[in-house]
């Protein structure tokens, strides 16, 4: 079994690391405090090709594999998850689904600008009354013959304001329940779309999160993705890949916090020596390192399965659940190791702890991952 990365994968990892450590780090704390969208960084990362890194080059993307994607997301997330979430949503939740299930016309019109980084995408599934229970969609997409009429509200939408291309999941045939759900490409500037306020979140504060309201929004028939009634399955398949991105994000948050805690423990002295020489701290660092390494293997295994066209849904659920849970544990310990300094905003580590929490919630809560995993274990 070869655990070495290819030269190309290492180059991609280094490119993400260089950008994160040179540029993102400069204003991460300030942007978090102000909840300011990282527009300049997204533009720069788009120019470097990160927003379409996994999309086929014939559609303007980088054609990189999922392992490269995991490596890049991890490096960006070590510094700023509000930025890595944009990369993850664009690559996994928006571009991938259109590339696999879209028509050539949809790819030409929507995927190409997204993959080239000229436009940002958003994925609209969650609703006020339907988060984990994604099949209980209340947003309606009535079939009007040559168009669909969209009415409803989506909430907790990442990139809601910065995106120009939405992928919206909505109910067309309520009597068919989840089989009556469709997925649509919707242009954000369509008449009838309005945004709620920017959510004032605990973490990933400079990620652009809003509710989105649809009032009689006309969506051309040709903007439906896949067969009539395919939308729920589409969403689930897209989320399987999205989980790899969020797992990598959680991994990055954890490893970023660990790096800071390790460095601090080698500098801070107490009782006559550096605190890393006290077993209580050394054992914390050891536990953190083990958890991070395990999370890394989960993420890379899920990515490897995807790259090799093997089923990866369970692997990605395991990766997401485990990485998110250890991100919370590791960042909490990282703050603890920093002591009082870990509790103030001047130091990055408290922001990482706040960021970690969201990875346990969005794109499928840790509890939903357990449902996915246990159902697979228990089915005949």
């Amino acid at each position: 079994m070869n655990f070495e990365f290819t030269e190309e994968q290492k180059m991609i990892q280094q490119a993400a690391k260089d950008y994160a450590q040179r540029e993102l780090i400069k204003d991460a704390i300030e942007r978090d405090e102000k909840a300011e969208f990282p527009a300049k960084h997204i533009k720069n990362l788009a120019g470097l090709g990160f927003l379409g890194m996994m999309t086929d080059p014939k559609y303007g993307g980088g054609g990189m594999d999922a392992i490269s994607y995991v490596l890049a997301i991890e490096e960006l997330s070590k510094v700023d998850s509000s930025v890595s979430v944009v990369v993850s949503v664009c690559n996994s939740l928006v571009n991938w689904g259109i590339e696999i299930y879209g028509t050539e016309e949809q790819k030409e019109k929507y995927l190409k600008p997204l993959a080239r980084g000229e436009k940002i995408g958003a994925f609209l599934l969650s609703e006020p009354e339907a988060g984990s229970d994604a099949s209980s969609q209340r947003t309606m997409a009535e079939d009007k013959g040559d168009y669909y009429l969209l009415n409803g509200t989506k909430n907790w939408i990442s990139n809601a304001n910065s995106a120009s291309t939405y992928v919206v999941i909505a109910q067309t045939y309520p009597e068919k329940k989840y089989r009556g759900i469709n997925a649509f490409i919707v242009e954000k500037d369509s008449p009838g779309i309005s945004l709620g306020k920017h959510e004032d979140k605990m973490g990933m504060r400079s990620s652009d999160t809003h509710s989105v309201m649809f009032t009689d929004v006309k969506v051309p028939k040709e903007n439906r993705i896949g067969e009539d009634g395919f939308g729920f399955k589409y969403a689930m398949k897209v989320l399987d890949g999205g989980r790899i991105g969020i797992a990598a994000q959680a991994l990055g948050i954890a490893s970023g916090a660990f790096d800071l805690a390790l460095k601090y423990s080698k500098e801070r002295k107490a009782f006559g020596t550096e605190i890393c020489n006290h077993q209580a701290i050394a054992f914390k660092l050891s536990d953190m390192a083990v958890k991070i390494e395990a999370a890394r293997f989960f993420c890379l295994k899920a990515a490897w399965l995807k790259d090799n066209n093997m089923p990866y849904g369970i692997a990605s659920a395991m990766a997401k659940q485990y990485s998110a849970d250890i991100a919370m544990e590791v960042t909490t310990e990282a703050v603890q190791i920093h002591g009082g300094y870990g509790y103030v905003k001047e130091y990055h580590v408290e922001r990482l702890m706040r960021d970690a929490k969201l990875t346990q919630i969005y794109e499928g809560t840790s509890e939903i991952q357990k449902i996915v995993i246990s159902r697979s274990l228990l089915k005949d």
């Binding site: 030269e7 190309e8 290492k10 180059m11 991609i12 280094q14 490119a15 260089d18 950008y19 040179r22 120019g47 470097l48 090709g49 990160f50 379409g52 890194m53 080059p57 993307g61 980088g62 054609g63 990189m64």
Partner: protein, 249 residues
């Protein structure tokens, strides 16, 4: 115009330096190798010139004297934007030897501008550029912190004690560049990384050349003494420490 950028393959600047074989060899176990930072800035400037001078610069080549293990570093240079890479298949053990190899590559290819970093971050020899100039009998300018080209006009700024000089020269020439030549090294894009696989990459055997030096042994610097902090208001204590402990006054 054709630009050649000479690239050294050096350990990442955060590497913990160790020696092996009874302190006769550098221990490269687990070392991450990178483009020498000054060479990377040189390459960045070359790319900026190509982009801004509308066809004046037709090609940027990068060259390294090193074993096969240096190829990833050269491919990174291609990913950043160089058009072709050349590796001279030899161990870079001696400055004179390296300069001789580079000189031969220049003679074969008619480069107009050769850029060298002022030093490499591992051996800090600061000698290759000057030796190369002597081998080729080309004008060379060192401590170059700015290089501008407008049509056929070459303008070079070099740092001197207390100020700077603005110079010009004719082609071909060697610019030995330092910090300031470019602000930030480029980060390779996904497209650049993808294209790097397809760009020309030539490997040549070295010419016969002497090595004039030999590394006999290595030694780590002595660990720094602990730093004693003295309150700036407490002049008496400062004088006492300088006189009685440091014994320098």
């Amino acid at each position: 115009m054709k630009i050649l950028v000479c690239i050294s393959n050096v350990p990442d600047t955060t590497t913990r330096i160790r020696f092996t074989d009874d302190n006769k060899l550098f221990d490269s176990t687990g070392v991450q190798w990178i483009i020498n930072p000054w060479d990377e800035l040189a390459l960045t400037r070359a790319l900026e010139l190509k982009e801004s001078t509308n066809g004046t610069i037709e090609k940027i080549s990068v060259i390294n004297v090193g074993p096969k293990e240096t190829e990833p570093t050269l491919r990174k240079a291609l990913a950043i934007g160089a058009d072709e890479a050349i590796r001279i298949n030899a161990l870079p053990e001696d400055t004179y030897f390296i300069a001789a190899q580079l000189a031969e590559a220049v003679r074969k290819n008619n480069y107009d501008i050769i850029l060298c970093g002022i030093e490499s971050s591992d051996y800090n020899g600061s000698a290759v550029g000057g030796m190369l100039s002597e081998f080729l009998d080309f004008p060379s300018i060192s401590s170059v912190s700015a290089l501008n080209i407008e049509g056929n006009n070459i303008e070079i700024k070099r740092e001197i004690d207390g100020g700077y000089e603005i110079m010009t020269t004719s082609l071909p020439f060697i610019a030995i560049v330092q910090k300031g030549i470019a602000i930030e090294p480029r980060i390779p894009s996904m497209r650049g990384i993808m294209m790097a696989r397809k760009k020309p990459f030539a490997v040549f055997e070295p010419i016969e050349a002497e090595s004039l030096t030999e590394h006999v042994s290595y030694e780590l610097p002595k660990p720094k003494a602990a730093c004693k902090m003295i309150d700036p208001e407490n002049i008496k204590e400062l004088v006492d420490v300088l006189h009685n402990e440091a014994k320098i006054i």
